[in-house]
Symmetry: C2
Subunit: 203 residues, 2 copies
Amino acid sequence: MPMSSKRPGRRPGASSTRDDILASARKLFAVNGIDKTSIRAIATEAGVDPALIHHYFGTKLDLFRAVVQLPVDPSVVLQPLREVPIDQLGVTIPRLIVTLWDSELGANVLAVFRAALTGADDGLVRAFFREVLVDIIAERVDNPVGSGVLRAEFVISQMSGILVTRYIMRIEPLASLTVDQITATVGPNIQRYLTGELTGLTQ
Amino acid sequence: MPMSSKRPGRRPGASSTRDDILASARKLFAVNGIDKTSIRAIATEAGVDPALIHHYFGTKLDLFRAVVQLPVDPSVVLQPLREVPIDQLGVTIPRLIVTLWDSELGANVLAVFRAALTGADDGLVRAFFREVLVDIIAERVDNPVGSGVLRAEFVISQMSGILVTRYIMRIEPLASLTVDQITATVGPNIQRYLTGELTGLTQ
């Protein structure tokens, strides 16, 4: 797929308004998270009509995606996480995510992640992890009740570590393993975080 | 322990030479790694006598520690990793490392790690992971022969992920767990990387 600078919904002369909206959204998402930031609040911050935000960007998650320059809709990409049997989540998560990171879209994710690690956009990436990824997974594995969020966070710790070692530090031979090899190796560990008995957390 | 700016071996007027040595060491460690960088090569690069480096800094690992401003000797801190039974490594690694990161020394480690993630000092941290941490662990768990390095790298992926989620992104409640809770939760997963059958890697 060739690179393209075309943006749907963009009109000549409208770039300043778009940029104002993006700047306001970036600020509010970072401070308050996705859930607690309304389109109305962003519109007020940017000094525009809420309808204009919907016109330019679509839904709130679409706007978030634009803010972090994510070229895919996270809720679509992550849909399998809602659908596979729970005992398959352990292998589904690394297969899905490592495939995404290995793809040409991965560079954007890496850029956002790097920015978060250096302090910039810290709130944005936390918001993404907490409200997009954690929420999808946590409610599916909340057994015993109340354990779901921590289970999901340990999964994120393992996946963040793969991101750091494979894509940022590029330590070999890990960086050259196939998606299948990564999946077979980390999958059972992720499954334990999701459905294993984590005695250390309940004591 | 109170903070102190005293440095053993430092003499008035010698700071420029010290800085030259540190700059040369930093450059060569980053490019060639620790093993392949000799004190002699650093001395040549800095335009000083090798004996002066030993006088100011001690051993090559002491010099590396000074370069990354690590206030502890990694080979001393990591000594338990050489001594505990192999089936105890899984819990020993997170207990040792998370305790270190939680301590007042942890801030330095975090600073070095952050620098690595942003691109600066990338080689230095990779050198540390590969030649200090991987080498200690890999040779102990090299079963079947040749699997040790990858086993160690997956351990590093999990520990890097704890560092990112607990200390950099500070996602809660994970960031507020005790060392014991982290250890009990990630320990068995790390043990699997070290001594489990990783069929994905041998196929």
